[in-house]
Structure formats: structure tokens, C-alpha cells
Subunit: 283 residues, 6 copies
């Protein structure tokens, strides 16, 4: 589940851009108040129960700021930790730690926030056959990490972007005479490794979609009751995905209706940052 | 208040990166289902009452995707609009509009979400002398736009990054014998155009800070009651800023306590995306 | 099939880098020999029969060099043209055309070379059910365009990169007790939109793979005879792909053996540039 | 002849872009099938006789993917090796090696392909005074490495781009009254460190060029017989370069005709990838 | 005062671009004349008395060229050194040192030139209350380093760019009915951490500015005599800055007139490079 | 002599970086004081006699800031203009002009400063056979433009970087037994289009160099008298270049000594910015 060395390497430019965005031409406060020889130790501490995500990213941000900083993670991404846990510690030049503080926290807090809420959703559907998936509703620039956080929280990724899966939505179908026409056109043109999913809004559209050779059907904005009806009608001939209007309160109803996948945009479009602090101790 | 041509020009690389993040090596669905000659018209529609932010950004994203698209905004950033309003419309190649859809919405929904909640906070403190300000708790890569959205919602920006203001927090003060020492060191080293703000956690620290030539004092995690006490003690000798633990529910209490500024991290670290859709019509 | 405006926009940085690679600090020859007022007209002419690919790219390269150049394509990517055909013409500042010449030709010649040979392969298997596909054996930096050229030549793209499809090769299977184990592990971890393909080298491995719930099986380095045997054994229960050792001479044998897909690395790893010239006429 | 540390440093961005092009948002197959603790050893093995080129580049690609990988080259760029030779080996995280495999091979196979064919051309003209040179007909983005591979194969580089040498071709001469005028204009405007070469197509043009103070004359599309005639006419007053229509079969005829340089575009525009594999062993 | 690890990290791209600008596709001279095994030792030597600036930058440039080079600085940025001093030495591959030579010197010579002249200005105003400050008149791409050099020379930085301070110049005031109007508009719109400075050209404008709540007043092109008059009139109610027409010859007159700050554009817009050499010794 | 559309296109990223360096997250002053509808006209005016350089660059900077600005140059790069001349004018959004002001001036003032001083040097050697050339002593990031400015001032460019010419200096010769050895090694390894220049410090070295087949000899730090002696000794057998210690005061002595080229580092390493202003008029 971990972001490995390659992923961190490929993210390096983004992490540097994030540091640059905050530091710009220099951290005036640190330059003005911390003597250049000062050393410090610092701890990342959770102020709530949470699923950790972003520890390796935080370490990389710190290393990019100052290659001499000694960073040590005490938990791994995906771990569940209690309030007051020390997630990681770092030692080295005080000025480097202070300058990097906000950028590391901005990553850690968002990613742990996503992982934590994903885990809550997953917990709600425990024991059912449904799996929780994310969407492309991420903050620009954060797609890869937001989706990584969903995996850390126990969710499954839907396609990453427009390039790795076909999902025909209403806006696409409007350009075709029928769902069947649209699917057939698509099948001819895409790689044999690509699956086709189509969104339906009514039982009638569902029936039509079922008659094509699509791979997955998305039930868009179906109520739990209509979802149950759809599941019975489909009878496992094809995987079904619920989408639209799903919350922590009703997610289990959808799962119990028998769908295979449930996608929730709010996992990434409306994130509550996890409460994580950095405590710095002069040494 | 608008993002002018220069700002959009400087953001161009970020917007292109956002498009690239979603489109990658090509939009498989559009390529597979939309004939290259197809034309369309599309409308961005609000599904809730909101303060608009990101309309010009959305237009620029569309133009970057396809310079031939005709984009027309019907409202301006900062406008308050009701559910069902058309924010903008775009005409041109159907495939270009469909490919750009998610990226434009990801910007519009986040930025309008920030502007809308900022406006709610501002409304709660109407009639007091306090002004609402943001923090550096933004999503990596979104600092400039997140802060722009706060301005559109009626808030004031705190410093943009570490480079344009000095804020001595506990972690910095820990390296000095006294607040006075820290301030004096800072004053000598920074530009005469830079203001110094210091964070205090107790009335005693407030007293000490007041005896230095700092420009602003931040009351960190003071209750409304203690805030009132602090305001009376300071008696307008220096501007005061409340920070920490402030919500829509209690923001007015802080404002009525008499502080000059109230900073709220949640404006940007825990955003609820505004509900905005794109409706595409074949032409 | 065309590279649309979005694709060209996303490629812009690459095209600029290609221009920069050739022009560097300036085209000494043009600067030294062409007066700045001189105008010219120029024609891209095919010196062989070929499938065109890269005309829009060439136009974009010219526009990036000089926005005032008037470029007009006379054929479209994917068209089959005879020796001596004019593919496109451009008018404007002579120095701009001369400076851009080599970069546009380097694109046009490679891409048309790929499209042309792809078309030859496709022609050889006409009338069979097999479809020709490419591989990831492309020149670094050319993945997207090389794969576009394959499509222009009538081929189908295999996955674009490591990110949009799962292909378990021998090197991956070596880390698992059995093919079944490997497939099962993979299925659990990837998106429901991703297909799984596994490579087999023997009939025994084929049998094992068939018992898993993999989506496609690749017959690696099977002879046409063994391929026929495999096809009969599988009996359409799952799509089969031939790979390894396939040439223009034997591709039909594989197709007639009954596989669904035939992948050929040489389409992109060993390209013969098409013969296309630029004739410049002073005006 | 080796690409030194500075060259690799300057290529780093290109190598990273190549990795990113293949890996994108993550290697799904490796993520899905290789446990994160797994270690491996792997060998790059030649499957044909070849001149090696790209070993240091391959090592750098691996290091960029995972700084912990231990890479050891057993041969140097420019070495001639037999089928079955181990070119290099690498040890470390299995997932890192598997993810980097294709990118390293794409470099190694192309560059060794160029070096190998260059060496064949050079072998054909052994014992003559002629030297083999390349052209600017390279794949966009590969100019520097393609030309390095030519040097590794024993060839000499012609100018790298438009910025480091003047070559007046027909298209430039068309804008001048005479070759002499063109040369004189050029001589006045370029640095004293830059040489001027002019392309001629007929004996008459050769005579005219010889009367100017050009530094080198290129015989464009001369047959071997006409080349011999030209060499006799020029009688060593100026270096001559043959260009156009030169193949492995006729290159010696040109060399024996007595020219100083022979340039061959096919060295880089129509490359046959060398056959090199990566064998991965779990440890 | 030192450029710390974070600053060097953030500058890395610029330093690499500078190396690339000089090295391009390779250092022909070194490649042609230095055997790849050759080792060397080299010393950076001052050929004049100077204030050092750029030693850490030079070290980073060398490391970026070749991570194996052993660089050792013998002085620190900001130190005053005499003619003939060794500023730093480096050991390692001869070719790497020779290739990096010019780029390191171009940085060292400019930055030390700025620091040295800044120090001369500062020396001239010793004993007065005035502080020397710089401007935004820097060479494109060098803002951060040019301003760092000013700090090393004992100067204070004015705002870094348009983003971190407000300075209303004549060109802005022309759009307002009065200075008071302009200041009031500005005060409402900018962060509470931002100071406002206004430029005045006459005593009358000074009087008007003094009646607003601006933070600093700049006396633009005042003579020393008029400056003295202005200082007396203002009587320490607000800090004053002299700007325009200030040279080494008259800077003390301005300082003695009693202003708080004196800004000198020539510090960075008209730099005389310091005389520093690199001596290379084969080992 | 003009920077054409291709050059400006290739510089675009640098120009944008320069704008970004100054504007950062926004021009606070303009945002705070200029209403978004305000229009203006502005003139670039020379405050001294000068050779213009950078007018097209300034226009491009303005266009990059705001594509709607109407820019019109009244003079061309390379023109000689008197104090008070209007170089160019621009019309459009006042805020755009004000924000771009400093960046355009920073280019114009430096480049015109270089062109102007180059022209003074050239004027001093009028009537002699010597030509003035520049060096690689430019400010990092400005190589191409600095060298363009030298051309505008009537100078000739020496090599642009390490990649387009061979110059053996003392530091290279130290690694060889003799100058002859070094030259011979170099000749074998570099392209036939590259010239070789060698630096000599004594008459003895000059004699030795003359016996090799080098293309140009540089007399390093020769006095005018020794230069004259060298010229007589060489007797036009090879071009000679004077370098080191050359100033406006003594340049003619070197020219009259009879050398072919005189290179002056100060043209670009110690630039005095030309005095050019921007006057903005509200419309």
C-alpha cells in the first residue's frame, strides 16, 4: 500500500513546487529569529483518532528541504492510530524543520483526512459484498495522492483519469441514437485491455444497457429501493456500481441492496483535514 | 477582485498541469464515442445558493483545452447566485467540452465552496469591527487560488507564504530567552516594509508582547471570554488577531469581543465543494 | 483518429522542446543568409507511397516557431497517399520555415513510417478476426505520438503505460507460487475498470492460466503451429494475444491460427523513416 | 567517449520524463503482484553481437527510480560484446527493478542499435581516409543521446543542431544570386569560431563553391563515379563530404572515391533496436 | 545570513539551467582534451579585496555537475577578504571542474561584486541612523541571489517583488484624485501584515502624504538639502526613505540629512563583476 | 539582427519566469489602487543617448502579461537614439502595464546598456581590421540575450557556450605534454565543422601553437607592444585574437597592433544599465 521510492521520485517536482509555494524567496520569520547553528527535534502528533496517510510524503518533503534532516516514521501509511500518537520524528537544523512545517502538515492533514473518512465508509459496509471506490473529483494537482489516500483508508480506486477507463455518462450518450450504438462504437476503438462502464438513470436505461456488451453498469442517483430492484433484475449478469447521493448515513443501505461497487465523490472533493501538529523542541 | 489577465497567465502552467493530470494520453471515452465534427453547447449551473469563484479560471481551462471554444461568463467571481443559475456557457467542439468538464468543475466547485463559506463567516460578524482572514493551511498547489477565493467571499488574506510577513509562533519563541529578544532580532533583519506579528497563548505572554515593538499580536486559542479580557487590557494600543478553535457558531463571539482580525484555517483546509454541474447539449 | 486541439495543447511542451533541441541559441545559417523580410512558400512532399501521420503535429510545430505562418494541410492523418503528393503547404517568413524544417520532418518521417508499416501488417491479416496491436517499446518521449501513429495505420493500442492495464509477465510470476495466486492477488488490488492479462510460455501454463479469472492470455513466443493448438484448446473461452517473433512474413500465419490480437514491438522500436521532403520557394 | 556525470545530470529531467511517461500514476502490475519487501537481482543480457551504448544511462534510470538500487555495469559504452553477454546487473527492491525495466531497455536497445550499425559502416570504410558522420535526422528529444551513440560506434558527429555550424543547403541558396554572395554574407555575420559548409548538386556548383572561401563542401546525391571526379577536381584544396543515398552496400565506394567525410541519415532516423533482455531473479 | 539548504534546494533548477546554458550538448574542449580518468585540484582565488558572496552557490553548482566533487569553502558569504585569498577549493574529476568553471565564476563574480559595492555604500554611512536598501532593479532570473548579495554586503532588502509590499509611485497616484484617496483604497484591500509606502516628489506631496495613514514615505529625487528640510518637517512622525540619484559620492549627505533608509538601484542594475579566478592543478 | 518570432518563442519560458519572479502571487499595489476598468497609455523613453536593444523583448513581456495590450515599437533593436526619444508605446489595461513595468525595464535597460557600450568599443576601432567579440562572462540565464545585445551594438559573438567551439586555455594545456599534443587530440575528436582556438601567454607558446594545425590563436594578456610583435611574427598565417585587460581606453592600441579579433569580458560581466523610463498616462 505504501508509496514506494519510484512514486516519491515521480512526485518530487510536485513536492518541490509545494515547498516553493510556501517558502518563495525565503522564510522571513526563521531567517530573522533562528540562529543558523540551532538544532532541534520535532514530533508529528495526532490530535484525533485517525488513519495515517502521508508519512512518507512528509519525510520526503523534509529531505527535499534539507538532505541532512534525520526523519524517522513510527507508523506506516494505512495504520490506525489513537489521539496523542507520535507519527514520526525529525532531527536536524531547527530552521529547516520550521520552514518545512506547514508544507508537511498540509499534506499529512489532507491525506490522513481522506484516509480516515474512507475508512469510516468502509467500516459501514463491512460484511457486505460491496466495495467502496473514489471518483475523479479531486483537487487539481492532488489526483495521485488523493487516490493513494483512498487506498490507505481501505477503498478501491476508480479510474485515475480520462486515459485509463471508459465511462459513458449521459453527456456522451446524448450524442448517440442508443446506448447500444455508443457501446459498440466505443468497443471498436479502444484497447482490448480497457473496460467499458455506462451510467444509467432509469430502469429502462438499465435494461437497454444490459443488452449491450458493456462491462459494468453505474446506477446514477438511484435510491436504495430502486437499487435493490436493479440488483434483482440484473441478477449478477454484470457488476453494478452505485453513484450519487451517497453519505455515511445511507451507504450501508446501498451496500445491502447488493451492488458490487459504491463510489463517493465526497471522499476527495469535500475533505476535512485531520488534526495533526508538529511540536518542535530546541536541542 | 478579479483574477486579471496577468494572474491567469502566471497560472497557465498550473492549469495545464491540472488538465494533463486528468487527460493524460487522451480521453478514451470521448475519443471512442464522439465523432470529431460534433458541436455542442454547455451550461455551468449552480445547484445551490453560492458565492461564485473560478469562472474566469474555468474559461481559461476551456481555452487551454481548445482555443476555438467560445466561453461566456454570465456572472463574475464574487457574485452571489441562487440555485439554478447559469454561471457561464461554452460552445464549440463537443469533444473538447467533454474532456475539459471535470477539470473545470474541480476548480469551480472548490473555489466556490471556499468563497461561499467565507461569505457565511463574514455575514456572521457583520456590524463588528473585526475582519475575517485566512491562513496558510491550503492544499499544496492551490495557495494562490484558495486565497483568491477567500477574497471573493469577502475575507482578507493573511500573509501568502513564509516570504511576505513575519509571524513568530511558539516554535520560534522557544529558541529565544524572551519575546522581546525575539522581536528585536527579527526587527533588525527584515525589510522595513515587513510587519511583525507574534502569537501569545496566555495573558502573561500578551503583556510581554505588548512591551515590544511588534506590529500585531495573535491570541492563540483564547476563549471568547479571555479574548474580551485581552482586548480590554490592550486598549487599542496594537491590533489583535484571534486564531484557533473558531467556527461559524462562535465567530461572532470573538468579533464582539473586540478583536481586529479573526483567522480561520478551515476556510481552506476543510472545504466543502459547491454543487455545480455542467449540462451538455448536442448542437 | 485525429490528434485534436487538446492533445496538441498537451503536447506543446514536447514540441517546443524538440524545436529548442534543434534551434538552441539560434539558427546560424538562416540568420547568416536570409534577409529578415524574405517571404517563402513551401510544400511537404511524399517521396514514396505512405500512410500519412503527423500533419497536424507539423502544423503545430510551424505555428510554435512563428504564429504568423499560414499552414494548410492537404491530407489528413491516416490517409494513404502516393509518391509525389503534396501533404501540406506553408507560407510566411522564409527564415521561420527554414528553421522549423528539420523538426517538422523528424516528426512527419517517423510517424508516417510507423503508420505505413502498421498498415502493411494490417493489410496482411485482412479477412481474419485478428487485430494488430502495439507495445510499450517506443522511443523515450514519443509514447503518445508513436501510439497515435499506430492508430493512424489501422492498429489498435495495447496499454499506454504501466498505469492503465495489468500484464503479468514471467518476471512477475516468478514471485508467486502459481499463476492463480498471482491473478487472485492482483484482482483484489486493482480497480474494477482494469483488465488483467497474463503471459504464458507453454501449453501447461496456458492451461493453468485458463483456470483463473484472468481477462486475456498472451501466448509468448508460440510458433504458429502451437498457436493453433492453443486456440483450439481455449475454444473462445477467453481472448488470446500472440506476441514475440512476429514479422510481416509470418503475421498472417498467426492470424489464421485464430488468435484475437497480435502484438508487434517492431512497429515502434525499429522504425524506418518515411521519405518526405520540404521544398522551399522564395516568393 | 563516456557520458560523464555532468551529461547525466543534464539529462536527468529527460530520463525522469521517460520514466514518468511509462509509469504515470503507478505501475499497476507491480503494485498488484509484488509484495513490498521482495528483493531481486537482475541481469541485462545481449541476445546478439553488438556495440554497447546506454549502460550508464540505464544505471541512471534505475537510480532515479530507486536510489537504493545497486547497479553495476560489466561493460562500457563503446565495447563490442557477443551474444549472451551480461552487460550489467542490478540488485534491490524487486518492484523498483520491474517498474524500471521497460524504460531502461527502451534506451539501451535504441542506443546500442545505433552504435552497432554505426560500427558496421565504420568497418566498411576501414583503411580509407574517410570518416563516417551523422546528421540532425534524430528522433525529437533524443538528439544528444543519438549522437553519443554514433560516437560510441566510432562515428564522428556533424553539427548538433542549427546553432553550432553553418550548412548552406539548396533551400538557403535559392535566396541568393550566387553561392559566392551567400557565403560572403554568412562569413560576415557568424562567429570566427564557426565553419561554413555548402551543399552542391552539380559539378558546376562545385566549381562555383570552390571559388568562395567556404570551409567544407558537401556533395549532395553524387554517385560514386561523380564523387571520384569531384575529388580529383578539388585536389585536396578543401575537405569534401558525401551525403545522400549512402548505404552499407555502397559506403565503401564513396570512401574509396576519396572524400573526407560521409554522412548517413539512416544511422539515427531508421534505427533497428538491438536485442537486449532483462532477466529478473527473486532473491 | 547564509543561503541555507532550503534556499539552495529551491534554487537548484536555476543553477541547473545556468549549467545547461553553458554546457548544452557537451563541453567540446574538455571532451576533446581531458582523459576521463584525470583528477585535479582547483582553487578559487580573489584578485582584489572583496566581500565574498556566492561560495555556497558555487559549491552547489559543482555538486550538481558532479556529485563526486569534494568542495571545501575556506570563507563564508559576507566575509571580507584580501587580494590573493583562497575562497574555496575543489578536488575530483578534472573534466567536471573544467566544465563547471565558467558557471561558478559567473555567479561568484557577480554576487561578490554586488556584496562588495554594497559594503562600500554601507561604510560611507557608518555612524548615521540610515540603513542602505536595494530595489527591484535586478537582472531577470537573479532577484533572489542579487538580494541575498545585498544582505551579505550589509544592506537591507526592500520588498522582493510586487507581491510582498505596497509602494505607490507616481504612476499609481495618477489614477487617484489624491494621495489620501489612494492610500485609503489600498489600506482596505491588503493584508493587515502589509505595509504601505508612498513616493513623493515635492514638499507639498510630502505634506499631503503625511496626513494619510501610510507607513513609510519615499522622497524621490530630493537633493540632500531638500531631504534635510523634509526630515525636519516630518520630525520622526514616520520613517523616510531617500531614492534616486544616490551615488557613493553623495550617499553620506543623504544619510546625514537624517533619513531612515536610502535605496540605491545601481547596487544590482549596474554591477561590476569582482575579480575572482579558478586555478586548476592536475593531480 | 532582430530577435525573430522563433527566438522569442524559445525565450517565452524565460520571460514568463522573469514576470513570475517579480509578480509572484500578485501585484499588491496595483490590485489595491487601480480599478479594474482603468485604461492607460504608456511610453518607453530614453533618458540618454543609446543603442536600443530589447524592444521586441519588452513587447513580448507585455503581451505575455496581457494579450490585449497594444504594443507598438517606434525604433528597432540596433538603432541609435538620442535622449528623450520614445522607443515604444503601449495601450490597454492600466493594471497590466503597471504590473509589467519593472520586468520590461529590467530587460531593456540591461540589453541597451550592453549594446551601447559595445557600440562605443566598436567606434573606437573603426578603420582598423579588428572586430570586437564578446565572451561567456554573462549573467546566468542571460547568455542568449546578452549575446544578442552585443550583436545589436555591432560586436561579433564568440562561441555561445562550451558546446559550439573549442578553446584550449591554460587549464586544459596543463594536462598535456605540449600544445601540439593537445591540439592533435582535440582535432581527432571533434566535428569537422568545429574550429579550434588556443590561448597563449608568451611568445614561446605562440611559436609552439603556430606549428600546430590550430585555427585561431588567442593572445592572453599581451600588452599592445607584445601584441604588435606577435602580429608581425605570425604574419597573417593564422587569425589572432587579443584577450584580457582591454578597456575603452586601450582597445584602439590593440586594434592598431593588427589583431583580427578583440574580446572584452566587461561587455557583459560589468554592465551599466541604460537609463530608460516608462511614463504612464491614464486614459
Amino acid at each position: 500500500m505504501r508509496v514506494g521510492p519510484i512514486d516519491l521520485g515521480l512526485l518530487r517536482e510536485d513536492l518541490l513546487a509545494a515547498i516553493r509555494e510556501d517558502v518563495g524567496n525565503g522564510d522571513l520569520t526563521t531567517r530573522a529569529t533562528i540562529e543558523s547553528g540551532s538544532e532541534a527535534r520535532a514530533e508529528f502528533i495526532s490530535k484525533q483518532n485517525l488513519i495515517v496517510c502521508g508519512v512518507d510524503v512528509a519525510g520526503e518533503v523534509l529531505r527535499l528541504c534539507d538532505a541532512e534532516l534525520a526523519f524517522k516514521s513510527l507508523v506506516s501509511d494505512g495504520d490506525s492510530v489513537a489521539t496523542g500518537s507520535v507519527l514520526a520524528e525529525v532531527r536536524g537544523q531547527a530552521s529547516s524543520i520550521l520552514t518545512a512545517e506547514r508544507t508537511t502538515l498540509n499534506y499529512l492533514q489532507r491525506l490522513s483526512g481522506i484516509a480516515t473518512v474512507t475508512c469510516e465508509y468502509v467500516a459501514r459496509i463491512t460484511g457486505t459484498a460491496a466495495r467502496l471506490v473514489d471518483t475523479r473529483k479531486t483537487v487539481p494537482g492532488m489526483r495521485q495522492l488523493d487516490k493513494y489516500a483512498v487506498r490507505c483508508g481501505g477503498g478501491l480506486n476508480h479510474r485515475i483519469g480520462l486515459f485509463d477507463g471508459v465511462l459513458l455518462k449521459n453527456n456522451h450518450l446524448a450524442f448517440h441514437a442508443s446506448v447500444g450504438d455508443a457501446i459498440e462504437a466505443a468497443r471498436r476503438r479502444v484497447s482490448h485491455l480497457v473496460k467499458l462502464e455506462v451510467e444509467v438513470r432509469t430502469m429502462e436505461e438499465l435494461r437497454e444497457a444490459l443488452s449491450t456488451n458493456v462491462d459494468i453498469i453505474m446506477l446514477d442517483n438511484f435510491t436504495p429501493a430502486r437499487t435493490r430492484e436493479a440488483v434483482q433484475f440484473v441478477a449478477h449478469r454484470i457488476p453494478l456500481e452505485s453513484s450519487g447521493g451517497i453519505t455515511l448515513d445511507n451507504v450501508r443501505e446501498f451496500a445491502e441492496a447488493g451492488v458490487d461497487y459504491i463510489s463517493v465523490g465526497a471522499l476527495t472533493h469535500s475533505v476535512t483535514a485531520a488534526d495533526i501538529h508538529l511540536h518542535v523542541f530546541p536541542e
